[in-house]
Amino acid sequence: MADPIIRVENLVAGYGESVILKDVDFAVERGEILVIVGGSGCGKSTLLKHMIGLNPALGGRVLVRGVDIDQASEDELARVHQSIGVLFQSSALFGSMTLLENVALPLIDFTDLPRDLARELARAKLTMVGLAGYDNHLPSEISGGMKKRAGLARAMALDPVVLFFDEPSAGLDPVTSAELDQLILKINQGLGTTMVIVSHELASIFAIAHRVVMLDKAEQGVIAVGDPRELKDHSPDPRVREFFRRQPRA
């Protein structure tokens, strides 16, 4: 198997003095869909922020495509950031720009494409996520599910090798959520993009995850790694089985 695209090595995650996760150690393989799961407040989003270089590690390190993102020079970090895409929980679309402008922004700024081709490519990205025709809409004029799709189109603008999703299904109805799952699968299969997803939506996890990394608040770290379908029935840890079976704590 090829080298993992992301390595998290003995990471201590948190903010300032406050440690949320300790000794987190796992790898993300090329082309896989890895879902980070766990109960509320266990540090899923914090771990994601460390993986994309928004939070500096309190200990250990995160290697994205072989680059230690805390030690990387500005140029290296910029290259890493251009090779990844992030769909934030709130979509984080720029409210003053139309959807087309949101998606075209990195294409215009970070490629040599002429403006008209960049805009055409941005339209294609919107088409890929099912938003054909919504070029001139502002983020405030579309629904939550459409915002997620538009955020995904922007995250995919530069055809990143890794896509990160922070709670992609949060706040979506089951049908929209299932459609987004399908879109994630299509992109993963079609473009071979590696996906790292933070979620606690069981239906989504079983539908899309190749592997999960499960975090626990009390343990302050990883308590299980593997196929969610396997873990549901065969994990030796009752906390893991309870989580995937949606059972109250014993």
């Binding site: 409210g95 003053s96 139309t98 490629t111 919504y134 001139n136 502002l138 473009l191 071979g192």
Partner: protein, 395 residues
């Protein structure tokens, strides 16, 4: 992404023309029949190659009398959505020219990428037209309409605010007094340093400039009158109001605007609160109570600035400067000055809150509301001051 395939630069039989980019892809052309063209693509078809690829494919399509095009992708190592778009563009252009397109060596993965870009979806026109800049008359008309609407809304809001104030007067428990004291501190106490410094410097400058003129008439002592009258009657209330508009009016608009964006105002409504009484009234009350006191403070500091110039620069005694100042103003001037300030405060806080409640959308709308609150407050301060000037003159 299609997986890597070694040695893609293999020899192609029957090729008439072959072009390769620096590190990206090769495009080989062969024409087995006059109306038939074979394009063999190899290498990377990604974002970096998109520009060259679209140009190369468009050029190939311009061939005279072309009826059928075969695209051989068996040598392609990498295809992403940019490469797929280049192929989709080629298909659309070929369809326009009546050229049939056929693929060879299109792997399942590449087909998956192509399927994400359905031609009928790509051709869909925007559902709404882009916003265009109208002609000058249209812009003027729209500005006038927006100004009228704005005026109507401001008057309506101030009316509602006064009605809310009336309700609060009948039932003081409606007012959140803790919030009132908090905003009194924000507007008044925290504003003291900047209001004091600017007023002191203003008094100093005014005294110095007027001294330069009055000394040639031997009328130095009248510098005290000038500073006191100008500050108490006009500049004190206006300067304080402008500073409060910049500090607090904008803050009120941003705070309520952000609450609107986060649906906190909607939450208040469904919980049975009147957002106007809950959010706006404490701010307005605090401003109306504190701005007159700030104005008094500003007047005092400006007179102190004038006194400093009088004593240090003009050789006057502090006693004579203070006596001259007290002779030039009367209690009525001070009361009028404070009354004016209270009205200015009502306008500043009212417009700040109104602009906050008008926010629709996201961060940009909050920024616009903040700017608009300050600009509108300054405009209303000047209008109100003009009205005061006329009324007080004839009263």
């Amino acid at each position: 992404m299609v997986g890597p395939r070694p040695a893609w630069r293999r020899r192609l039989s029957g090729v008439q023309q072959m072009t390769c980019t620096q590190e990206g892809f090769c495009l080989a052309q062969a024409a087995p029949a006059p109306d038939r063209l074979e394009l063999r693509l190899s290498g990377r078809l990604g974002l970096a190659e998109f520009n060259d690829l679209t140009r190369g494919l468009a050029l190939a399509l311009e061939r005279e009398g072309l009826g059928a095009l075969l695209l051989d992708l068996s040598g392609v190592d990498y295809l992403d959505s940019a490469g797929a778009l280049a192929l989709a563009r080629l298909e659309a252009q070929a369809a326009q020219r009546g050229v049939a397109v056929e693929y060879r060596g299109l792997e399942a993965a590449a087909q998956g990428i192509k399927d994400l870009l359905r031609p009928e979806e790509l051709a869909k026109p925007p559902l709404i037209a882009p916003q265009r800049q109208g002609n000058p008359i249209e812009i003027l008309g729209n500005s006038w309409l927006s100004l009228s609407r704005d005026f109507y809304q401001v008057v309506g809001f101030l009316g509602e605010l006064l009605a809310g104030g009336g309700r609060a007067l009948r039932n003081p428990r409606l007012v959140r007094w803790g919030e009132v004291f908090f905003y009194m501190e924000q507007v008044g106490v925290n504003g003291l340093p900047i209001v004091g410094l600017i007023s002191f410097l203003l008094g100093l400058i005014m005294a110095f400039m007027s001294f330069l003129q009055l000394q040639s008439f031997g009328a130095n002592i009248y510098v005290a009158n000038l500073v006191a009258l100008a500050m108490v009657k006009e500049l004190g209330p206006i300067m304080t109001a402008v500073l409060v508009a910049g500090r607090s009016g904008s803050a009120f608009a941003a705070e309520i605007g952000t609450m609107k964006v986060n649906e906190e105002v909607d939450a208040l409504v469904v919980m049975g609160y009147d957002p106007l009484v809950f959010l706006a009234l404490p701010k307005v009350l605090a401003a109306v109570l504190m701005v007159p006191l700030l104005t008094l403070f500003a007047d005092l500091l400006a007179i102190t600035g004038g006194l400093a110039v009088g004593v240090v620069g003009m050789g006057l005694t502090a006693q004579s400067y203070i006596n001259q100042t007290l002779n030039s103003i009367n209690p009525n001037d001070i009361i009028t000055s404070m009354l004016k300030s209270a009205v200015f405060a009502l306008l500043i806080a009212g417009i700040g809150c109104q602009r906050g409640f008008m926010v629709r959308g996201g961060a940009q709308a909050v920024g616009q509301a903040t700017t608009s609150a300050v600009v509108a407050a300054m405009f209303l301060i000047i209008v109100a001051d003009s009205i005061f000037a006329i009324v007080l003159h004839y009263w």
